[in-house]
């Protein structure tokens, strides 16, 4: 399908050289254009069009209704909660492994495991959490019969805001560990020694040297985890069916059966998702570039 090489063959020996070597990138460019850029542009343009094709802001305005706004709001809350908790817990675990004086052999398995767990999202993840924290899950039953804590009576429900957040953390924490470990490794011993020679206490070293260096990585990963949770569809649908009103589930239902009663409102909904994940990722890329200055 990608007959790149045949397109690229002539330029090397041609006597007069048209810029034919650009053709080598053509199959890739065509693929990306057809199956990534154009579909996305179709959605973006559709968000600003009436069904007849003229320009309008009506679809975007249509997003500002109670049910859609609340869907965005719940999505954002879940994404923020799982990103913040994921960052904090992931950072603690990574810091424990790198700086906490734990045995050296823990690192390798920890990183390998994080690689697997951060990819273990989607439908099976939802099943794992249903089997653990669901109404008859392992932990729910154990806490109830052995310790006497009734999670349901405490208001915990796996099909709720916290249920989804706790489930998302399963791939958020490992992702944080994977990204922040190199940054923690990048903290050079010399910096600490230099700070100590200049009379800094441990707390001062952390506040004035380590923290500012780690901050871009930390905030960047926060943005990445946010986008990661915001776009997660499969886990949410497998876990809650359609009982939780979040943007990906609403969009899924809209694509399937036009539940909003206006196809172009669906475009606007999707456009809103692109804008939010786009902003989060821009922040991530920008901050990562900043943090990489220290990791050479």
């Amino acid at each position: 399908m990608s007959s790149d090489s045949s397109a690229a063959r002539p330029p090397a020996r041609e006597p007069f050289r048209l810029p034919l070597h650009w053709l080598g990138a053509a199959p890739f460019a065509i693929f990306v254009l057809l199956f990534l850029i154009m579909p996305t542009m179709r959605i973006v343009i559709g968000a600003f069009q009436t069904p007849e094709g003229s320009f309008t802001l009506e679809n975007i305005r249509g997003l500002f209704t109670t049910s859609i706004l609340s869907a965005y709001w719940i999505s954002i809350k879940i994404s923020v909660a799982s990103a913040v908790l994921g960052c904090l817990i992931g950072f603690s675990v990574a810091a424990a492994a790198v700086l906490g004086g734990l045995p050296k052999w823990i690192r390798g398995p920890l990183l390998t495991f994080s690689g697997v767990a951060s990819n273990f999202a989607g439908v099976p993840l939802a099943f794992a959490f249903l089997a653990t924290l669901g109404p008859v899950g392992l932990l729910t039953v154990f806490l109830k019969t052995q310790i006497g804590i009734d999670l349901r009576a405490l208001g915990f429900n796996i099909l709720s805001f916290w249920g989804l957040t706790v489930t998302y953390l399963f791939f958020q924490i490992p992702l944080m560990i994977l990204i922040i470990t190199p940054a923690l490794d990048g903290l050079k011993r010399e910096w600490r020694e230099a700070a100590q020679i200049l009379g800094a206490t441990n707390a001062q070293y952390w506040r004035m040297v380590a923290f500012p260096i780690l901050l871009p990585s930390f905030l960047g990963t926060l943005a990445l985890l946010f986008a990661n949770a915001f776009g997660a569809v499969a886990t949410a649908i497998a876990l809650t069916g359609s009982s939780l009103n979040i943007v990906p589930i609403l969009l899924f239902a809209q694509i399937r059966g036009d539940v909003l009663g206006n196809p172009h409102l669906g475009y606007a909904l999707a456009f809103g998702m692109i804008v939010i994940t786009g902003i989060a990722n821009t922040i991530y890329i920008w901050l990562r570039a900043r943090s990489e200055r220290w990791l050479k």
Binding site: L169, I173, V233, I255, M273
Partner: protein, 260 residues
Amino acid sequence: MKKFWAWGALIFGLLYFILPLVGMTNFSLKMRRGVYSLDAYAVVLGDPRFQETFTYSILMALSTIVFGVLLVVPTAYWVRLKLPGLRPYIEFITLLPLVIPAIVIVFGYIRLYNTSSWLPLTGTTTGTNILLMFGYSTLALPYMYRSVDTGLRSIDIATLTEAAQSLGAGWTTILAKIILPNVLVAVLSGAFLTFAIVIGEFTMAALLNRPAFGPYMQLLGANRAYEPAALAVMSFALTWGCLGLIQLVSRFQKGAQSPA
């Protein structure tokens, strides 16, 4: 004191990850009342729908890998060799699928390639399958491209190309016989990751209405109790298998390179 907190954080993290795995394994074994049994697995494995969807997803994963390799390896090679100025842009484009949610991309497909469009891919089963494969290739692009590009960085492609050309090799020969074997480990790790992503993918397959493994799992989850847990255990084992293989091949490469 520091060690105490470090162990505490580590143990908390471990519990968080092990409990759900224990929970799902435990649940998957409890189909027969009162005793542990493998009944749920037997039911799942014996279900013809499981066999169909699983085979479908495996075929999908394999064709995605083949297409991805054919697309990414020549492009990454060519860009490094002749168009180094394009690299940052291509790198940026390959990261886009991480920014644009899969559900939005597939929404675009449905609108762009429906039966009344200029390229009515969704009109036929074969067309939809191809469209889904392209979708999967898009999802896998960030991983595949980065993996191959890193692999290419470690070899001197300019010298290899000139040497091959002076011996009379054409571009196809260079790519197939010189470049590909040299980046095989990188290609393989990209391939295993692609496999792990495609095999359980839900959103695209569900919205394009294809009988893939992901939608099957979701359907089973909505209707059954113990079988989904068995499926989850199997998927986790599969993901482990794929990523374990990546570790294995990259270690193999390190072993092969160190004497040189």
